[in-house]
């Protein structure tokens, strides 16, 4: 019974008792209160391809696909399920930002290939010492014995540094990258009109494009170099992009490299704090770090979903998705699918088939930076294990009120001592 003494049980009872048609997965309150998972559990069991009528999400009706294998079907069928015009449930309004994640072949293929060499095995190998030295410095400067915000001091800091390096962006201005990324995906705050929010969004994105245009102009007039802006400025398929397309691809690369890795870094701290047995296992055997990294990426699922738009009628689980309708592939739900993943709600750092998760997506839009993300997480934990016997989360973390970005805005921790 919902008597208020067990909030998790109350949330689950609510999720299982309300009429199916009232389930609203884009209600940000369910995300900020971390009560979303039972709704997915119910939909997987009772209505795995579920229609949300207009009136829930601000841009209208959509389908939710919640089982692992159904998500793979949609994700790998890029002819029936287009990534255009947007990979979130928001429809492009007056500001259309084309980006290759939201394009279909052949344009997607050509633009992706321009930037993908930055995360080639060779480049990652070259970058590893720099990533490691920065992580070492950041960890060495953390306070001991006093509470601080891990999100700000570590997760945001390290991902901001990484992005600045990839873009060869002025290092002292790196927090601007984080800010632009945050604004580009933020939901309109409560009490703020959508129009007002859009005006603010346009203003901030204008600053972003102005800054990057300056860098572009420098790079386009200089010989080609290994940073993302130079690569795009000299790439055959990208050098004649419109300003909107330039901004779109910048936002894609900034968000892609920012929120995702940031929230997985924070998630790793939370998961190991909540699971002391797994933490003990990791400290006893640092060889488990790569497996723990994959498990954290599954457990956290830093992007909750990707949207597709049906190009033709498509049958799935007995439902007919009509041409033109929107589909949300809920990676977070697929990664908790008990029919595919053993004990899916457990954080289990050496689980079998640990890499078999949906967080990077499957098919031609699979995350281009996945190996860089894994590398950053791996080095972070190698360096943590060399320094700190424990990192304790001392308050319930604050979660981002967003159905697309699954992460934390604040996580207070204490590191009691060094080794």
């Amino acid at each position: 019974m919902a008597d208020g003494t067990n909030p998790a049980a109350d949330a689950r009872a609510r999720a299982f008792s309300m009429p199916l048609e009232d389930i609203n997965l884009t209600d940000v309150a369910l995300w900020s209160s971390h009560t979303i998972l039972p709704y997915f559990e119910r939909l997987r069991a009772e209505d795995p391809v579920h229609y949300h009528p207009a009136g829930q999400h601000r841009d209208g009706a959509y389908w939710s696909v919640t089982r692992f294998n159904d998500i793979v079907v949609v994700d790998t069928n890029h002819e029936a399920f287009s990534s255009e015009p947007s990979i979130t449930l928001d429809d492009p309004s007056d500001v259309v930002l084309p980006m290759f994640i939201a394009m279909d072949p052949p344009k997607h293929d050509a633009q992706r290939k321009v930037v993908s060499p930055i995360v080639s095995p060779h480049n990652l190998h070259e970058m590893e010492p720099l990533i490691r030295s920065r992580i070492q410095k950041t960890l060495d400067e953390l306070p001991i014995g006093e509470a601080f915000d891990w999100v700000d001091k570590v997760s945001v800091e390290l991902t901001g540094q990484m992005l600045a390096t990839l873009f060869d962006f002025p290092f002292e201005d790196r927090r601007k990258l984080t800010y632009w990324s945050d604004v580009s995906v933020a939901e309109p705050p409560d009490g703020v009109l959508v129009e007002e929010h859009m005006a603010f969004f346009n203003q901030v994105m204008g600053e972003c494009v102005e800054y990057f245009t300056r860098l572009w102009n420098e790079r386009v007039n200089a010989p080609p170099r290994g940073d993302l802006i130079s690569m795009m400025a000299h790439g055959e398929s990208t050098k004649n992009m419109s300003p909107e397309e330039f901004l779109g691809n910048l936002i894609l690369l900034i968000v892609g490299g920012n929120d995702t890795t940031r929230n997985t870094m924070s998630g790793s701290i939370l998961a190991l704090d909540r699971n002391p047995d797994e933490r003990a296992k990791l400290y006893a055997n640092p060889g488990l770090i790569p497996s723990m990294v994959s498990e954290t990426i599954r457990w956290q699922t830093p992007l909750s979903y990707m949207r597709r738009t049906a190009t033709r009628d498509f049958e799935l689980e007995g439902k007919t998705i009509r041409a033109g309708e929107k589909v949300a592939m809920w990676y977070l739900s697929g990664n908790r699918d008990e029919t595919v993943i053993e004990r899916p709600n457990d954080y289990w750092i050496d689980r079998p088939n640990v890499r078999h998760h949906l967080s990077f997506g499957f098919g031609i839009h699979r995350c281009v930076g996945n190996r860089l993300a894994e590398l950053q997480l791996k080095i972070l934990w190698e360096e943590i294990l060399a320094r700190f016997p424990e990192i304790n989360v001392v308050e319930e973390p604050t979660r981002v009120p967003n159905s697309f970005i699954h992460g934390y805005s604040e996580m207070k921790v204490v590191i009691p001592r060094r080794f």
Binding site: D75, T76, R355, F362, V368, R371
Partner: protein
């Protein structure tokens, strides 16, 4: 059973008896042959079971599927004899097959 030889980038070799009906990827994963990640579990959707098929076997292993072709577009160090091992079905015809692994699954 078909004997399949997996040659690592380092040169180390594993020769495994693989049951007909399995894929070349499953033959490796089930026998703990390193170097094949197979993140997607066999859906030709991640390109982490990339192998090079020994030239003399190319005809018998057949042509790439459409999805496989699309995924190999974005893989690293792709050659004309590159395949996704999950898309090569093992049968008696492939007894003796030799595949080489890339330096990285990327």
């Amino acid at each position: 059973m078909a004997k399949i030889t997996y040659i690592q980038h380092s040169g180390a070799e594993d020769t495994i008896d693989v049951a007909p009906g399995l894929s070349v990827m499953e033959g490796a994963v089930k026998n703990n042959v390193p170097g094949i990640d197979a993140d997607c579990g066999g859906a030709a959707a991640c390109a982490t079971c990339h192998v090079y098929v020994d030239e003399s076997w190319l005809e018998r292993t057949g042509a790439r599927t459409t999805m496989e072709e699309a995924m190999l577009e974005f893989a690293e160090a792709v050659e004309p004899n590159s395949r996704l091992a999950c898309q090569i079905k093992v049968s008696d015809v492939l007894n003796g097959l030799v595949v080489r692994l890339p330096e990285n699954q990327h």
